[in-house]
């Protein structure tokens, strides 16, 4: 069954259809949240569960403008920001020091470590625009930020990452 049909069934209250959507989207959403949560898997999974529950409550509001994955990502990002604000964490914090954990032989691991040094909107914008393949416009909708702000987050994030990865290597 295609995603459109599953969405229509879920909007009519079919829990089995929504369960199929959860199974189809869980990996992508949890991966995105793990990066946002700086590798804290338990936190990322909690936020992902809450995001899917919110998605279930609001599924009738999904108008099909854009992908369901992007709609879920917007809910998840909002949830992450709420979590960060409740704990008085500064989601825009900017720590430009080099990776505290020291260099790693694995470049991918270096990237993950370097990512933890970026501010949340930079991490989110880079992840959405590169790893997830969204356009800047789509990322702006997900992050609920102006297009220009997203572009500057991407550019600044790239600069910082490059510097951090060069230090690490």
């Amino acid at each position: 069954m295609n995603e459109g049909a599953l969405l229509a069934l879920a909007a009519a209250g079919d829990t089995i259809a929504y369960d199929a959507l959860v199974r189809g989207h869980q990996s992508r959403l949890r991966g995105f949240l793990r990066r946002l949560a700086r590798g804290d898997h338990a936190l990322a999974d909690d936020l992902a569960q809450e995001s899917f529950l919110e998605g279930w409550r609001k599924i009738a509001q999904f108008r099909g403008e854009g992908a369901f994955a992007a709609w879920l990502a917007r809910i998840a990002y909002r949830r992450y920001l709420m979590w960060a604000r409740e704990r008085k964490l500064e989601p825009l914090e900017d720590d430009s020091n080099a990776c505290a954990g020291g260099p790693s032989p694995d470049q991918k691991l270096d990237l993950e470590m370097a990512m933890t040094r970026l501010a949340a909107p930079e991490r989110a914008a880079l992840t959405l625009c590169y790893a997830e393949g969204y356009t800047h416009e789509e990322a702006a909708k997900i992050l609920e930020l102006p297009l220009g702000t997203v572009k500057s987050h991407v550019a600044r994030g790239r600069q910082k990452l490059k510097a951090l990865l060069e230090v690490a290597s």
């Binding site: 369960d19 990996s27 569960q49 990452l161």
Partner: protein
């Protein structure tokens, strides 16, 4: 590191996350949430009913219907109308059989 190398690194898809019971947990939370919602609905209904029973002037609301019932029971035209209905229904059944 060149810009192209950084691009290639960033474009690597995120590591896939195995379900490992995650979707089952979401389904369980959805069910709990639905049960809680139904429980709250029922509680709200019961509280409303209790308030109606306690504070609504039921005696005054029911009195006109009581009077209407008694008047209908004592009314000859109403009795004739009921009898006519019963007879025509019986006749109809008899003709169709």
């Amino acid at each position: 590191m060149t810009e192209d190398e950084l691009d290639a690194l960033l474009k690597k898809p995120l590591v896939g996350v195995a379900d490992s019971g995650f979707s089952r947990d979401v389904a369980a939370r959805m069910e709990r949430s639905a049960r809680l919602g139904a429980g709250l609905d029922l509680a709200a209904l019961l509280v409303t009913l209790l308030l109606v029973v306690l504070f609504a002037p039921l005696g005054r609301l029911v009195a006109p219907f009581e009077a209407l019932g008694i008047n209908l029971a004592l009314s000859l035209p109403f009795a004739i109308a009921c009898a006519a209905l019963a007879l025509s229904f019986g006749l109809l059944r008899w003709t169709t059989d």
